[in-house]
Amino acid sequence: MAEVSPEEVRELLLEALNLGEQYEPSEVPLDGQLFGDDGLGLDSLDALQLAVALEEHYQVTVNKDDGPTVFRSVQTIAQHINAHQT
């Protein structure tokens, strides 16, 4: 199966969280922090939406305990998908 690129994940993130009108893809650094005031400011509801989007698009599960690690950046999400996609 072809590797999922961070750029593809970034597109999914903006679409799943309805952030497409707020940010251009280039405004979301692939290794930038997603949660907290220093990042995009995502919260736990966004984490839930993202987890559902990843399940629907890539059939990859993210557990709550893994959330902080997996959802650290677009890059880490892509790494998780590529490591767990069957």
Partner: protein
């Protein structure tokens, strides 16, 4: 045997005319079905249409009721409505219509529970939404 009125089995705080669930029709671990009889004109409401936004309220009440039921014990679980998203309206209900409200658990992520809600009238879906309930009541609430 007819299903019991919701108020008799669920301690959700809403009361008529702002309770939009009349009966719990079916309930399982992952989904539940409620009904609501929209009063005819001249009853408690004098509306010509059931406002679309109230279908969202009906789904939220059903989500709260299902969330309270879903551990299967007599002890109901408390929760807070955290969000309503992806709302779609595709029809309307009229006085005298019987609304069917379907709730299905979609995903649990820590304290957050995502549920899909749908409202049907005469075999036609008139509204749908994605509802998130937060388990428990935070101390600050």
């Amino acid at each position: 045997m007819p299903s019991p009125p919701v108020g008799a089995v669920l301690p959700i705080p809403h009361q008529p005319p702002f309770l939009f669930l009349t009966r719990l029709e079916e309930s399982g671990p992952e989904a539940a079905l409620f009904s609501y009889e929209f009063p005819r004109q001249g009853d408690s409401f004098s509306l010509r249409m059931f406002p679309e936004l109230l279908t969202v309220e009906a789904m939220a009440q059903a989500a709260a009721a299902f969330h309270g039921l879903s551990d299967g014990s007599e002890q109901t679980e408390q929760g807070l409505l955290a969000s309503v998203d992806r709302v779609r309206f595709s029809g309307q209900a009229r006085p005298g219509d019987r609304l069917t409200i379907k709730i299905r658990r979609k995903r649990v992520f820590g304290e957050l529970v995502m549920l899909d809600g749908e409202v049907w009238v005469h075999h036609r879906m008139i509204s749908q939404a994605e509802i998130v309930v937060r388990r428990g009541i935070p101390e600050s609430a």
